[in-house]
Amino acid sequence: MFGYWDTLYFLYVLAIGMIIAYLLFKWAEKSSMGTRKTGDGTKIFLSGEDEDNVIPQFEHLRGYYTGRHTMWGLIRGIHRMFLIFKREHTGLLTDYVAYLLITTAIILGALVIWG
């Protein structure tokens, strides 16, 4: 049966989902070149080229960020993540040692507090 804790769990998952969606949305907006903020009385642009083009069936979205730019933003964002990965590590010994020390410190902290 659907009980009290299930409801709470649902709300908890929903809240986290909304936060993740919002962060993703902000990230996409920042990563994208084309996303525009539309104000009162403006139309939604399907692309940057044709200003009169309203997305069929999506007229109600006026006033929100929309269009395929959001998708491009996501794709560009993921691409950017891989570009960051691609910037090879310097390979400095001091960095390696620092990572080892930090990792051990985190483990020690966790074990001393919750062990």
């Binding site: 010994l93 074990l111 001393v112």
Partner: protein, 511 residues
């Protein structure tokens, strides 16, 4: 008792190598193959004995009983093999033999081969020592034997800077990690006055102090480094591609598992399981496992160097094994924990086979074509069909495509993580998506239009082909009977590993 021969044979083989080398090239490689074959025979016997009796094998150095005269506690160095140790000894000896057979052709034009064969046998000996020992300091000694042999082998081809740089980096940071492990052992010895693992388990359970937790912290930190977990994986992506491919197969297939996750599991389950909050330890390992499997596999996607891609893929696969062990610890004593642990052990064995095969393929390509740059290797399948087929099998297995062996072990890990926490399962699946992307890229390269570089390529000689075929056979065979292997070998291994009482009683028996 056959157990000591697991150490004696490779030790004798390694140190007699310079003398045998005086008899010529042929004698040297034959001796190496003979020694590693005998070691495989002994390892098979040890594994079979433990598996058929389901009893731990205990051997005391210099006496018949580990207990001191007139006292009720162990004072001598002892070796204690359970099913997990036996299984890993078997796979170490098997992959070691394959790597040595492969080396007889792959590396025959290099100089200083007596050193090479000596080091490769010492590397094998170090790993075998780690999986059979029941003494903390003895464990450290074997760990250092293994590590020092790996540092030297990474820098074996010292005609390029790549190997030397990678070897030096590996040595410096590896030594620091080893010193953390030594510090952990010293803290335990200072607090409890014993180094025998089973007796330590008793002492820590009686009096779990802050020092024991700090010691565990140092041990986990050092061992995560040795297993190549993110964020301490940087050495691995330099060291594994720089080593000769036969050595890369052993480093990626065995060293990071025996010196990393095996030791981690042994210490967590056999020493600490009942004395501290095992759930915390489990979650620490789960955390590093998740980060490792995402970053390792994602990094593999963007590599253009084939061996570097395989090295990052090893990091990613270690993430799955760590995830399995972490869930095994966090849900200790439940059905989910058992499945996760069995999955981790299964994946350890499977990944050893798959990654050994893939590195041998990379070696064959490098040997025949002279490059490991994926942008230049287009259309290799037409010129080297057998090698490309070996790659296809290895890649399909590592991605987890049924009916190959990777599927079964990954399935157990997915299943247990979905039951334990669906978020972890989502992470695991995301890691596999990256892994698939990485290998499909190589596959497209191999089966694309032939480029100029590969025009004159041909298949390598028999000594390089045979180990690859044997590994393909092992991968397919293990893939055809996944649930039988899981029920008959992996689940009993997991049961035995987490049975701390059995581990203690085997040594303390009469006391």
């Amino acid at each position: 008792m056959i157990l000591p021969f697991l150490i004696i044979i490779p030790l004798l083989g390694a140190f007699s190598m310079p003398i045998i080398s005086l008899l010529g090239e042929k004698a040297r490689s034959t001796w190496a193959v003979l020694v590693s074959s005998l070691t495989l025979g002994v390892a098979s016997k040890v594994f079979y004995d433990v598996w058929s009796t389901k009893q731990l094998m205990v051997y005391t150095l210099g006496d018949t009983t580990p207990l001191g005269n007139g006292v009720g506690f162990p004072i001598r160095i002892l070796w204690e093999v359970d099913l997990f140790g036996g299984l890993l000894a078997l796979i170490v000896a098997f992959i070691g033999l394959m790597a040595i057979i492969y080396s007889t052709e792959y590396i025959k034009h290099d100089t200083g081969l007596e050193k090479y064969y000596t080091l490769i046998l010492i590397l094998e000996l170090g790993m075998l020592g780690i999986v059979i020992t029941g003494d903390m300091f003895n464990f450290y000694v074997f760990l250092e034997i293994m590590s020092i042999a790996s540092y030297a082998l990474v820098a074996f081809r010292n005609d390029t800077w790549e190997g030397i740089e990678a070897g030096i980096k590996y040595m410096f940071v590896g030594s620091l990690a080893s010193s953390f492990i030594l510090l952990g052992i010293a803290l335990l010895y200072g607090q409890y006055g014993t180094l025998t693992m089973s007796y330590l388990a008793v002492k820590i359970a009686q009096n779990p102090t802050l020092v024991s937790k700090v010691a565990l912290g140092f041990l986990i930190g050092g061992l995560l480094f040795k297993s190549g977990a993110v964020p301490v994986h940087m050495w691995l992506s330099d060291a594994h591609p720089a080593a000769p491919s036969s050595i890369s197969a052993m480093l990626s297939g065995l060293v990071i598992k025996v010196g990393g996750v095996y030791a981690l599991a042994r210490i967590a389950f056999s020493i600490y399981a009942t004395s501290i909050s095992i759930k915390t330890v489990g979650w620490i390992i789960i955390f590093f496992g998740c980060v490792t499997l995402i970053v390792g596999n994602a990094m593999a996607v963007i590599q253009t160097d084939m061996k570097r891609l395989f090295a990052f893929s090893s990091v990613g696969q270690m993430g799955y094994i760590l995830l399995g062990i972490g869930i095994g610890l966090a849900s200790y004593g439940t059905k989910v924990g058992d499945i996760a642990l069995a999955g981790a052990i299964y994946h350890t064995i499977n990944h050893a086979l798959m990654k050994a095969l893939l590195f041998l393929v990379a070696g064959a390509v490098l040997h025949q074509v002279g490059t490991k740059n994926l942008n230049e290797l287009s259309g290799l399948a037409k010129k080297m069909p057998l090698t490309s087929f070996a790659f296809l099998i290895g890649a399909a297995a590592i991605v987890g495509l049924p009916p190959l062996n990777g599927f079964a072990s990954k399935w157990l890990i997915y299943e247990s993580s979905a039951l334990y926490n669906p978020f972890l399962a989502a992470m695991a699946v995301l890691g596999t998506a990256f892994c698939t992307a990485a290998y499909i890229r190589v596959l497209f390269t191999f089966f694309g239009r032939p480029s100029e570089v590969v025009e004159n390529a041909e298949e390598p000689g028999k000594a390089m082909i045979i180990p690859m075929l044997v590994l393909i056979f092992a991968i397919i065979l293990m893939g055809l009977f996944p649930w039988q292997i899981s029920d008959k070998v992996m689940l009993p291994t997991a049961d035995m590993l987490k049975d701390q009482v059995h581990y203690i009683v085997a040594v303390m028996g009469g006391a």
